[in-house]
């Protein structure tokens, strides 16, 4: 398959993830949709790496995986802290900083 088709799949996944971040209200699902967007970026990076025959794009994708794992750990810790304080797990109601 041509490289362009992989990029089209990547664009699909990115847009689905962006739509999820913008429309869902559960912070866990929002984290999942962030994962979707990062995975779309990973797929594009690896497709370009294949296009050039250069493995440095795969290193980039691995680092993105590491950063995503860190983000998940901190984000889930925040969700657990929110739950322990008996706050609603809903990003529309957690708006004390809105002023």
């Amino acid at each position: 398959m041509n490289i362009g088709w992989y990029l089209v799949v990547s664009a699909f996944v990115f847009c689905i993830g962006a739509a999820g971040v913008l429309t869902r209200r559960n912070p866990i699902v929002i984290l999942l949709c962030l994962e979707l967007m990062l995975n779309a970026a990973n797929l594009a990076l690896i497709a370009f790496s294949r296009m050039w025959g250069n493995a440095q794009g795969q290193i980039f994708a691995l680092i993105v995986i590491v950063v995503a794992a860190c983000e998940v750990a901190v984000g889930l810790g925040l969700i657990v802290a929110i739950y322990r304080r008996r706050l609603p797990i809903d990003v529309d109601e957690l708006r004390e900083l809105q002023g």
């Binding site: 041509n2 739509a19 699902v29 790496s49 296009m51 691995l62 998940v72 889930l76 322990r84």
Partner: protein, 269 residues
């Protein structure tokens, strides 16, 4: 053959992503993401990225998804209501606008990708050399050219682990039942339930040695034998147990005093 595999994996990737966004139960969303990740690993294999595919399956579908499943089952499986209890009045409008925006973004990206004049995008990529994307090549790059990135990534993982533990730690003093527990632990006997009580050295030591006599082997001053003993007794109610711990804290008192200090910190939180 590769085209068939690509279409199967691509449909799996997009269907998993749609399942993550569309399902109302967060647990099913997590399962949808697992399916998405496995299909994505197949796409990575088609792109000759063997090591990244393996890392994707092990790290993402193995470790991170387990973390998600644990948090979802800890927080509770609340289905998101379709409407109601919505604080912002324009929620439906915002949702429709967001969906429209993402559809426009998708159309724009597809036009940019498929209509671009780049020759390389319409090719199958560079010729395959044996060893491309293998663990040997990845490790070679990570330990020579990208060594600094490698070290920074390890440091970032350390920071994230510490941050997650600090964030998800149990904090007392905010919830009623935990506050009750900590008050009770302040009012009861300082060594009750500690390891020193089990060993039995707490009550026996002050009476065994002479109370006013300084122990010859300790080099500490008389007034403050151990700093943690003094701090532990300072905020407690002045009782006979505290006095005995403060005045005759030498000799065999060492494990008991340390146990009390830890105990008080735990009660304060």
């Amino acid at each position: 053959m590769a085209a068939v595999l690509f279409f199967i994996a691509g449909i799996g990737v997009i269907a998993g992503a749609v399942a993550v966004v569309a399902l109302r139960n967060p647990f099913y969303s997590v399962l949808g993401l697992v399916a998405h990740l496995l299909s994505l690993a197949a796409l990575f294999l088609l792109l000759r990225a063997e090591f990244v595919a393996a890392a994707q399956v092990i790290v993402y579908a193995g470790a991170v998804m387990v973390l998600y499943v644990f948090v979802v089952s800890y927080v509770g499986l609340q289905d998101e209501p379709w409407r109601g209890s919505r604080v912002s009045s324009g929620g439906a409008t915002l949702k429709a606008g967001a969906t429209l925006f993402c559809g426009a973004l998708l159309v724009e990206l597809c036009i940019a990708l498929l209509g671009s004049g780049l020759k390389a995008i319409d090719s199958r990529g560079a010729g395959y050399v044996p060893g491309f994307g293998s663990p040997t090549q990845i490790g070679d790059l990570l330990l020579t050219k990208f060594l600094f990135v490698f070290e920074v990534a390890s440091f970032l993982l350390l920071i994230a682990a510490v941050g997650a533990v600090v964030l998800a730690r149990r904090r007392g003093g905010l919830h009623d039942e935990e506050w009750t527990v900590s008050v009770a632990s302040l009012l009861r006997s300082p060594t009750l339930g500690s390891m020193a009580e089990a060993v039995g050295t707490t009550m026996a030591t002050p009476s065994r040695g002479a109370p006013g006599e300084p122990a010859p082997e300790t080099g500490h001053g008389r007034g403050e034998p151990f700093p943690w003993t003094h701090r532990g007794g300072g905020q407690r109610e002045p009782g006979p147990g505290t006095e005995a711990g403060g005045s005759a804290g030498e000799g065999g008192q060492h494990p008991g005093a340390r146990e009390r200090g830890d105990h008080r910190e735990e009660g304060g939180w």
